[in-house]
Structure formats: C-alpha cells, structure tokens
Symmetry: C2
Subunit: 110 residues, 2 copies
DNA sequence: AGAACATATCTACATATCTAGATTTAAGGA
DNA sequence: TCCTTAAATCTAGATATGTAGATATGTTCT
C-alpha cells in the first residue's frame, strides 16, 4: 500500500523554489495566509473560503494584471495554490498540504 | 538586547531560493552533507573538515569547471556554503547555521 | 624563474524570466 | 444580443540565468 503522505519529487521542489525566488510571489503566498488582514472583503462573495480573487491580489501587489495572472498560474503549476472559479472571478487559495510537505521535504533532504 | 539567533531577511531568503532553484546546485548542497559517501577522499588533505574541493565537485557534477566555480560562488554569496583555501585548492563546506535558519524561517513565515 | 595545476574571472551566446500592453475568452447584466 | 468586467493568453523587449571556452590569478614544485 501507499503511504498517506504525498512526497514531492526533485523536479517539483525545483519548481517550488523557482516560484518562491521572487519577492512578489513570495509575498502573495504569505498574504494568502491571512486574507482578512491583507485584503478588503470581497463584496460579491462575502468570505475567503476559496481564497482571494486575482483583481484584489493585483491591486495589493501593484503590478499589472497580466503579470499577476502569469505569476499565479506559475504558482498553481508548482502546486502552491489552488484556483476556484466563481462566476467571472478566479479565487486562489494556498495549497496547505503541498506547502507543509515542501517544508518537510526540505527538513529531511536539505 | 539582540537575540542570539541570526534572522534572515527577505532578500537573503530570495537569494537562497534562487540558489536552490537549480538541480545541480541543490545536488551540491546535498552531496556536501556527506562528503565521505559522495566524493573520493582528497589525497593531499586526508579529511573533509573544510568540505570538498572544486575539482571533485566539478567531477561529480559533470559540468565545466567554470560553471561549477560560478555556481559555488553564487551559493557562497547566498551564505549557503563557506570556502576555505588550502594551498591551491578551495574547499567548500555547508554553512549549517544558515541552512537551518533558512528552514526555520520558512517554517515560521511561509 | 619557469612549468604545472586549481580556481576564478572574462566573454559570449542560448535560453529563461520579468513585466506590461494588447487581445481574447468567459461570465454577468442591461 | 450587446456591453461591461475579470482573467487568461499573446506579443514583445529588457534583463537575468545557464553554460562553456579562453584567459588570468594564485600556489606549488623543480
């Protein structure tokens, strides 16, 4: 049988390190840890269950919409965040399982 | 008073993430964890107290001497490794204090 | 001093990343 | 259906990274 924990392979760790090798992307991951503290409440949804929408992240980061969209997709490909579509908004939330597995992997391997 | 532990600032974490966003550099850091297992003994010195010389790391990595030298200097600038000159050889060993501080910082901040 | 060797630096080129404006796609509302 | 808005994709130029060959520097040996 397989263990319950998911192990990250080398390549995935490299992709995560690349994603976190940029101040804005690192900030985004930290901001998403506490959406209430870092973003204004989203009027149409009223909660942060699925994270924060691209528009608000763009606003907070101060870079262009296309740049932030590109960053978020890169972070999503590295499995750091999870997108959820609500109507015309895309919400991104942290993938806590992968983030803690990543830290555990560094602890063991580094 | 200041705490005894040294804290890594944001910029240093980014530099470490950049250094670790490459398979060869990540490998080098892991290899240096156990020089006996990963490198042949150095004839002229007979121990690994100061790590492993560039020549042996180059040999193990299979990239050019100039590439590995460049990588090692980048890792040193990110404080991940410490160079020691013995005659014509430069030995590099892990900077364990920074590495564990880095992991601790990720644990706290990520 | 001169030869030989280990490492660092310089130069160069290919590829990747950063970033934004323009365009396209998808969804909602008039 | 048409207009508006949010987000993704396309295009492009500036900058950074990956990587190696050539050269310079520092050290040891003869």
């Amino acid at each position: 049988m397989f263990s319950k924990t998911s192990y990250l392979c080398n390549m995935e760790i490299i992709d995560i390190n690349k994603a976190l090798a940029n101040q804005t992307r690192l900030n985004i991951l930290k901001w998403l840890k506490d959406p209430e503290a870092n973003f204004k409440p989203h009027e149409d949804l009223g909660h942060f269950n699925d994270g924060v929408c691209v528009f608000h992240i763009t606003e907070r980061a101060g870079l262009s919409q296309s740049t932030i969209s590109t960053y978020l997709i890169q972070m999503q490909k590295a499995s750091l965040i999870i997108p959820t579509r609500h109507g015309k908004w895309t919400y991104y939330k942290r993938n806590e399982a992968v983030i803690s597995e990543y830290i555990r992997a560094l602890n063991n391997q580094l």
